[in-house]
Symmetry: C2
Subunit: 753 residues, 2 copies
């Protein structure tokens, strides 16, 4: 273990006090002078032609300040990938899902805006729809968008010789898995405030994890020159990938503000949030795996059909990224991956913590237990035999700088009591699952770099200007710890400032478990430069060479002589007041491989592994499932803040449990049946045991202080671990999540019959 002062310490997040006392002002709390309420008229039908749209009465209603339809917008198409753009901000002639944006109003208050929405006369001519992705792939299927097929995008990758691999296999398994449509369930719904300035610029206060992306996409949608939009991102109540969406409310609010001359706020109702805020992509996964008798996987061919919903967002990206994570998971010499994203007349999907990986890991790790059973190998042992290891290279050529998968498996087995597995009471089961996921973002976008400004103030405090989005995960705290470690200042004396795209350098945003790795490097570089500069100024005063100065405990002193030197505050006072000098620097991290990244082999600087193990008890009469114990062992390189990292894992685990057992947005003819927290159940404290989180914290050679990201992995292996445990408890294996009591009960009945 390294002997760090702050790195690796379980410190409360810097924003903990404000959050826990209610002092924090969230985006929802923000009100600007003269602010109007904006509301959106949405399609009630999954597919229809817009026959008539009459806003006259709405516009005449006293208190209404602006009413817009597509005619008032630039009619630019949007998608996350510009090449796949297919979504107008307001429907032009057709609506393609229940919730599709048709018109919008701004009025003096919510009630007036709602009334105005009711006064908009709109006639729809319902059209035939296609709701099932496999049906949508049929040649004669109704087209969601004109021209071509409903397959929005596809990918085909092969490494090694898959057919030869299958030929050499002793056993071949082929199974189909289906995953459900789940919602991000942010407790604060999507919110945006737009303020159009007379000079032409637009200010947006938005729920976003990727403010710079939002900025440039809104500029493009509004056909504004680059640099016209400024995005502020105050604290928000949840993101989980959902706030990567460039929601149409942002450009809509901007236009309403420009027309009304006032700031306009649009907030999703909870129903709108469930029906339109985008969901995790449901995948249909067909997995064919060839193994040797000893359990070694020699070939795997995976097919994915992702339900895109009506418009493109990150379907393409999740199918690709998850494919590479699955391909890297085990040491398999021959791999094929065929994925596609298919339009349906439903709410579009988007990225969601895990980014496709929970879907594929559910398939792969469920199947691996089936393989183990067939081969008579212990599920733990079969994973150890196939596990990847540190300092190796994946089948597709990516270096694994660190991969303690075997270690995580063994720890999880020990903590869950794997050796009890054969002597459990009836209706009990223990299962486990592993995963591999990026711990450093993705280079797919040509830019995976960061910079940060750092000023040490005259009173010995530190300001770090960083692009990190603190969406509640503790990113500011992690940056502050890195700075604190290097400069020896107290954590509470470091202020991280960001939240404004005019202020912060370009950044890809908080996703892909990249923040600690990428922005942490920049923060570290900035702190080191400040330290070097400070040592240079103080060397004479302390009669030592700059390199012999130590920075610790809020003091600067000659290394080995902590009684020498001066306090950090005194030192800064000396620098400013006695030397008349400021101390400001810029730190930079350049991921030089990012622009070169052409395929999976360089897409990810480093990956993180994990193993989760659970014990369940199933009520044989009702199918009720009780989670008795949950262990999550997570590799994260050097933990910067174990407390925050455990929080990440615990929160993700809850979502993983929801994914495994409870959550599904049910639909009838494209309309959500359960768009509220009464009928859409997410786990509460009562539904989960206090999980045992173990951080496997061995430094990785690529990360700042050896750190890797931990934002997403916590839910990736949860569902298959639970499914595997349920199988042991019941002998029943479901190939779809969520494994509700009802479904389990039916399957148990079938098995008994």
């Amino acid at each position: 273990m390294n002997d760090y002062a702050v790195i690796g310490k379980p410190l409360p997040k810097l924003d903990a006090l404000g959050k826990s006392t209610g002092e924090t002002q969230f985006l929802s709390d923000l009100r600007l002078p003269g602010m109007l309420s904006g509301k959106v008229l949405r399609s009630p039908l999954p597919h229809a032609r817009l026959v008539r749209l009459d806003t006259t009465a709405a516009a005449r209603l006293p208190g209404v300040r602006a009413v817009i339809t597509a005619a008032d917008t630039p009619q630019e198409k949007f998608s996350f990938m510009p090449a796949l753009a297919d979504k107008h901000m307001l429907a032009i002639d057709r609506v393609r899902f229940v919730g599709d944006e048709v018109a919008a109003v701004a009025a003096v208050d919510d009630a007036t805006a709602e009334h105005a929405i009711e006064l908009i006369k709109v006639d729809f001519e319902e059209l035939p729809n296609v709701l099932d992705p496999e049906a949508a792939m049929a040649p004669d299927a109704v087209r969601v968008h004109d021209g071509g097929s409903n397959v929005a995008w596809e990918i085909h990758q092969e490494f090694g010789d898959v057919e030869r691999g299958f030929a050499e296999a002793d056993e071949i398994f082929e199974d189909r898995y289906e995953t459900s449509r789940v919602c991000h369930c942010c407790l604060e719904t999507q919110t945006v405030i737009a303020q159009a300035q007379r000079g032409g610029r637009i200010e947006l206060w938005a729920s976003t994890q990727a403010p710079h992306t939002l900025k440039s996409e809104v500029e493009r949608l509004l056909k504004l020159p680059e640099g016209s939009v400024r995005v502020y991102h105050p604290p928000i109540g949840g993101s989980f990938g959902n706030r990567l969406v460039v929601d149409m409310k942002s450009p809509i609010a901007a236009i309403l503000s420009r027309l009304s001359g006032k700031p306009v706020k649009i907030v999703n109702t909870r129903t709108e949030e469930f029906e339109t805020a985008r969901t995790r992509y449901p995948y249909i996964v067909t997995m064919k795996t060839g193994v040797k008798r000893d359990g070694r996987i020699v070939a795997r061919a995976t097919k994915v059909i992702a339900d895109n919903g009506a418009y493109n967002d990150k379907g393409q990206a999740t199918v690709s990224a998850a494919g590479s994570s699955l391909a890297a998971l085990y040491n398999v010499p021959n791999l094929r991956y065929d994925g596609c994203v298919v339009y349906t007349h439903k709410q579009p999907g988007t990225g969601f913590r895990g980014f496709g990986n929970p879907q594929l890991t559910f398939a792969g790790e469920s199947q691996l237990d089936m393989i183990a059973e067939k081969l008579g190998i212990d599920p733990l042992e079969i994973r150890l035999r196939n596990a990847n290891a540190s300092d190796t290279t994946t089948t597709f050529g990516a270096p694994l700088s660190s991969c303690p998968m075997s270690e995580c498996l063994k720890i999880a087995a020990e903590k869950i009591g794997w050796n009890r597995r054969q002597s459990l009471p009836p209706n009990r089961g223990i299962g486990l699952a592993t995963m591999l996921h990026t711990g450093s973002g993705s280079r797919h976008y040509g830019y995976n770099s960061a910079s940060a400004g750092l000023t040490v103030t005259e009173d010995g405090k530190v300001t770090l200007i960083s692009s990190v989005c603190d969406v509640g995960q503790g990113a500011y705290t992690v940056m502050a710890q890195i700075v604190s470690e290097i400069l020896g200042v107290a954590l509470e004396d470091i202020r991280v400032i960001g939240n404004d795209t005019d202020l912060t350098p370009f950044d890809l945003g908080a996703w892909g478990s990249r923040t600690t790795w990428v922005n942490g490097h920049a923060a570290r570089d900035a702190a080191q430069r400040a330290r070097d500069q400070l040592a240079g100024v103080l060397a004479g005063l302390l009669e030592a060479a700059p390199e012999d100065l130590a920075f610790a405990n809020q003091r600067i002193f000659v290394r080995g002589a902590p009684n020498t030197g001066l306090s950090f505050a005194e030192a800064m006072n000396h620098v400013y007041k006695k030397r008349g000098q400021p101390l400001s620097v810029t730190g930079t991290f350049i991921d030089e491989l990012a622009p070169e990244c052409k395929d999976w082999s360089t897409a990810t600087p480093t990956l993180a592994t994990a193993c989760q193990a659970v014990e369940v008890e199933v009520d044989a009469e009702s199918g009720q499932i009780r989670l008795v114990k949950a262990v999550a062992v997570h590799d994260l390189g050097q933990a910067i803040n174990p407390l925050a990292a455990e929080g990440q894992v615990e929160g993700a685990l809850a979502q993983g449990i929801g994914y495994a057992l409870y959550e599904e947005l049910l639909m009838d003819n494209g309309r959500a049946l359960n768009p509220d927290f009464v009928d859409y159940k997410i786990p509460t404290f009562l539904d989960m045991p206090k999980p045992q989180v173990v951080l496997y914290a061995e430094p990785d050679s690529t990360g700042p202080f050896g750190a890797k990201g931990i934002g997403e992995p916590g839910l990736v292996p949860t569902a298959p671990a639970i499914a595997n445990a349920i199988y042991q408890a019941t002998g029943v294996r479901l190939h779809a999540v969520p494994i509700t009591p009802e479904r389990l009960f039916m399957a148990m009945q079938t098995k008994r019959a």
Copy 2:
């Protein structure tokens, strides 16, 4: 002339559109959620003992959230110079001027807060007072503060041998001058919002020109650890030195906020602003000048008694700084300066544009005309004979890097039509006056440096994070022009961000005409570093050495071949998206002499000179004075933005005209008689001719692009120029400002009699 693209161009200020359309949100416009109204109970007497103070009824009033007296405050004493601290934020047992703070309340609205103030029962026992500074110097005078004398501070400087100088003089003149108490008259009154956070920090939104100073002084007053206060400074409606004051409303609002748990806003009423917001120090100046028959000044001894009012603020600093400006004005070999600052039971003074120099220049430049007349020398000629010149050294050893005083004199004479002077119609007069003033701040504080962060964004825009306070003078625009010149980007593509002490590096603030010089250096360094870095990245692409690349017209190209290369936006796109690199730098300016500054000889990096000339017409029957023509010739080194610089001069000139002719806060027993804009007259458009402003813009060797500051000089020589013109028109010389028609009429009557 240098061939600049942006420097030296008369460009509209970046904030002009927002200001002129009413879009700009000033501090007064700001409302925070749950914000309370704060009001201050003030002394109605100039000197009294606090016998009883009962807040019970006020505290019981529904809607009142906090009531405080001195007992609720840390009772720390405040002054601008900590060694001279003498002011409690709320009076403990005595009040010392009409307006002294006694108690304060916070309530749900203004009316409730005002009512609560009325309900506070307070009994005063009036004490004898002293209102005249000379009377206050008597040994038996009532003491404003216990112990010692009423002389709060004094300075004694001598250079050369003054007595020998007087002995060698052919003529000796000794005169007494008095200047009035004038108010800054900001159109937005002093405003503060404080929000106490649960973690202990205080956020202040304040009218301030020196946010970092405000921050540390409020920390000291509240006995909080350094770094506890964060100051935001939104656009404000006027400053002029007044917003350098650390007004007691800031710590009072902070305490009210802490007690109430809500943000508290306190706004001066216009009456409070006149009675308590501090004024220019009235000076009594006794000037003894020895001259040779040819007009050369050989010795000068100046005595200043400054009326401090009841508490210290910047009396000491103005008396010292103005003394050095006067001492540098002409090439006088023997100089003595004796200044003191004397307590009286009146509203305290503070810094005001010119910082003591208008007072002393009124004395010196009035007397010089008297000397010229006595010696039979033309007033222009006597100044040319005594003028300082570039590349010389003042009597007290300060280098004059540039001093085009003779040039300014000649231009002013030509523009006003000096040769008409002997043939003017009756009751007309032409007068002129010169001045020397810092164009680069002051090093007296050990720190005269600056830093700035600069990011070039992925879309080719530039963000400059600078500590400059844009108080309406165009500081942001000047910084942007410097950056634009170096990087070749359009002015509107540069965003200057500041306004927050957590965000910006330490800075002394916007005063002493220092912003362009000090912060301009830092901005220039930042832009140059960005350019160097960019040239390094692009050299290969453009197949040229980095030093051969030119940056102009929003393009980067090989020098001499403007058709080569690429647009700046394309270049940045290349850097970010193709090279995967960010472009962020830090620029620094270190004024290495600042910490060494021990006396006047190094106090000012560079000085600016000016000459103003006016023509007046006096109504012989009524004493009414009409300003016929006004010429202002100002040295400012290289003008960065002549339009903004002219605006500075025009605005200051209006204040100078008010100082000369109209403005005086009249007092009776320590109470202001005219605390409103009806009875306290400031010049309007109707009172001033369109001034002819000439910028003498020769680069200075010390400044960024050769620039010097121009914030203050515009009003320094105005009053004596007008007084000298009135003398020519009437034969009457008043030794005090303002020269009101009433006073002039009385003096003309006396002269006739």
